[in-house]
Symmetry: C2
Subunit: 112 residues, 2 copies
């Protein structure tokens, strides 16, 4: 996953409704959950939710499978893993220790 793709995925998770939907799906497990169930859980209008789910599917955060009338949404764990790996590399580059450590707070003052 390249820089642009990472940014796009993070942007999708960076919306409270979408993040809530994704969290719900992850909790639901590998089988995911149908749109209607998500809708009942989050309590947002169907058209709004549909729009958000479509966006997440577009960047690969979730997958959507049709079972007759219902559309089941499945979280793409691997996608999130990749995202986390990217962030972790960002976090640890430039840091001395293998594990991430806190920056030294020198004697400079914070801005007001």
């Amino acid at each position: 996953m390249d820089h642009e793709a990472v940014a796009a995925s993070l942007a999708e998770l960076g919306n409270t409704h979408r993040l809530a939907a994704f969290r719900f799906l992850v909790k639901a497990g590998h089988n995911g959950a149908p749109v209607g169930e998500i809708q009942k859980a989050l309590g947002i209008p169907a058209s709004t939710l549909s729009h958000h789910l479509a966006r997440m599917a577009k960047v690969g955060l979730i997958r959507q499978k049709k079972h007759s009338r219902t559309i089941v949404c499945i979280p793409e764990y691997q996608h999130l893993e990749t995202l986390i790996s990217f962030l972790r590399e960002e976090c640890c580059v430039g840091v001395q220790t293998a594990e991430c450590s806190l920056p030294d707070t020198e004697g400079t003052k914070d801005l007001p």
Copy 2:
């Protein structure tokens, strides 16, 4: 960090310019880098960059310290750590194994 704060931080990282700036700062290390240096590296207009940096500072992704005329931006490693922890919990909830595993791809078909 609560749901809203996580979404806000992810949204900030979900922009290519800001993600690039953050990556640059992380690579720069604990001492961070002055705005002008970031500007030269990314090659975007000063006012645009200033706007993006201010946004990142607002959600706590970076800190800004003034040294005479220059403003040094420092990445908040701890903040990113917290973000990653949150995502990791999301990822592993509902999954059987301790480590994150891939979802079973059942016999259902993907949407067109």
